[in-house]
């Protein structure tokens, strides 16, 4: 069972790695930011599975923390990088 | 094995960021390099402390690194504010006098 969850967490990590290709390619800052947002969702899922695989309940709290703060950098980007007319 | 893997990652991070710190002159890049450098040191600490026989890694190492992370972010904020001020005052994003036009 443990291995299943660790394996699935690894699968999600690989997914994140693929998503990074889009961060690198861009071409605009907005493209990079959208790809980075992937880390919010997929990262939370990976942490949940890792927590299940490692029998570590505290990881749910970490996922909770991440989900609440998932919007911060994205919002900062859209607020700061919009042209102030 | 996690210990060994991440100890070496920590070494890699420290070396890479030291190199970057010397090579780059742009202030923001230097701040980034210092942040990665700190992360490398923290990683070595935690990896070493993960050998603890307790359910979680060595609590003293964890406490030190938590303190370190908070101090790092405040130092980063101060460095960034300084960098911004330097840019506004001199028009340059570097500290060196002669490399720029």
């Amino acid at each position: 069972m443990t291995d299943w969850y660790l394996g699935l967490a690894g699968f999600l990590l690989l997914n994140l790695g693929l998503g990074l290709v889009r961060v690198l390619r861009g071409p605009t800052p907005a493209d990079r930011m959208v790809a980075a947002q992937l880390f919010g969702t997929t990262g939370v899922a990976a942490i949940l599975l890792l927590g299940q695989g490692m029998q570590e309940r505290a990881l749910v709290d970490l996922a909770l923390l991440l989900s609440v703060l998932a919007a911060v950098t994205g919002v900062a980007f859209t607020r700061l990088y919009r042209r102030v007319q | 094995m996690s210990t060994l893997v991440f100890l070496l990652v920590g070494v890699g991070l420290v070396v890479m960021s030291l190199h970057a710190l010397f090579v780059h002159t742009h202030l923001l890049r230097q701040v980034l390099a210092i942040n990665v450098l700190g992360t490398g040191v923290f990683m070595v600490f935690i990896a070493w402390g993960s050998q603890s026989p307790t359910p979680h890694a060595d609590p003293v190492a964890q406490a030190l690194v938590i303190t370190g992370i908070v101090v790092a972010v405040s130092a980063t904020a101060l460095a960034l504010a300084l960098a911004l001020r330097i840019k506004q005052t001199t028009g340059r994003a570097t500290l060196s006098e002669e490399t720029e036009e």
Partner: protein, 314 residues
């Protein structure tokens, strides 16, 4: 290398765990390389945010959930926001890295990595002296979670001074920054999201603060969550918060509470030496105010000098 065997015997990770670790390690090193050397600074900053999340995952693998929480909240979210903000105001889109004396430095770096690697591989075995000490004295600390016991009791001096360092850094930022955060009017969607996220966010922050007494969590993790929420509030246009006296009071509250408790404890012993029966309450008291201070300070670090903005507005 006895200690390596010992460590692997301890861990419950089989080959799948090792594969995961190697994947993470490769990702970390590759991301760090791109963060440090990509020609586009904006790209570097975005990658740094992603790097923070991977670092947090690495701490999880190393069984350090407390550190993972601090890294995820502070290292990734707040540092990332600070970097985005500074980059925006410095306005340097693309700048090729300057490779002064490239060859020589690369040689030196390689030499150093060999030296550091050697030093680490030949380190004397892990000594659990401190761990044993902490475990033995845990019942006398007032809390059940060892990391919190170290932070708020055994090494409370360090933590108190750290809270002071945070405050000093903020004073420094105020002293040198002349810019203020200028933002366009927030959209209804953004304000809506913030008002939806705020109540559960406050709950999570308070929860992390509370459970720190007996499981991973605590003042810094809870405070960082609250700080992130404050940043969201500022970004969504609730700027008046920063000018108010409430936030200013919160800035100093942690240090004041720490000092007050520390000095009061001197009545029975020496500075910051709590009596056992009062320890838990005192620690929670300090943690509550430290969390408020951490939250307020982290958010204000981003905001720059609040006075200038407040004076112009009616």
């Amino acid at each position: 290398m006895d200690w390596v065997l010992e460590a692997s015997a301890l861990s419950l990770f089989g080959p799948m765990g090792l594969a995961l670790d190697l994947l993470l390690a490769a990702g970390l090193l590759w991301l760090a390389w791109r963060v440090l050397y990509s020609p586009d600074l904006f790209l570097s900053v975005v990658l740094f945010i992603s790097f923070g999340l991977l670092v947090s995952l690495a701490y999880l693998r190393l069984r350090a959930p407390d550190v993972a929480m601090a890294e995820a909240a502070i290292g990734a979210a707040l540092t990332g926001t600070l970097l985005l903000y500074t980059l925006r105001h410095m306005g340097v889109p693309i700048e090729p890295p300057r490779l002064a004396q490239h060859r020589l430095l690369t040689g030196l770096a390689l030499l150093m990595s060999a030296g550091l690697g050697w030093a680490i591989l030949t380190m004397p075995g892990f000594s659990d002296g401190l761990v044993v000490q902490v475990t033995q004295h845990l019942p006398q600390s007032g809390v059940e979670h060892p990391v919190t016991a170290v932070l708020l009791n055994f090494r409370a001096y360090d933590t108190m001074l750290e809270v002071a360092v945070l405050l000093l850094a903020l004073v420094g930022v105020w002293a040198v920054s002349s810019t203020e955060l200028r933002l366009p009017a927030p959209s209804a969607v953004l304000r809506g999201m913030v008002s939806v996220l705020l109540p559960p966010g406050l709950l999570v922050g308070g929860y992390l603060l509370w459970v720190g007494a007996y499981q991973p969590g605590g003042a810094f993790q809870g405070g960082a969550v609250l700080g992130g929420l404050l940043v969201l509030l500022f970004l969504a246009g609730w700027r008046a918060l920063a000018a108010g006296w409430l936030l200013r009071l919160a800035l100093g509250a942690g240090l004041l509470a720490f000092l007050a408790v520390g000095v009061l404890a001197m009545a029975g012993g020496s500075l910051l030496e709590y009596r056992l029966e009062a320890a838990k309450n005192l620690i929670l008291f300090i943690e509550f105010f430290v969390a408020l201070s951490v939250a307020a300070t982290l958010a204000m670090l981003l905001l720059g000098r609040p006075g200038s903005a407040g004076e112009q507005q009616p």
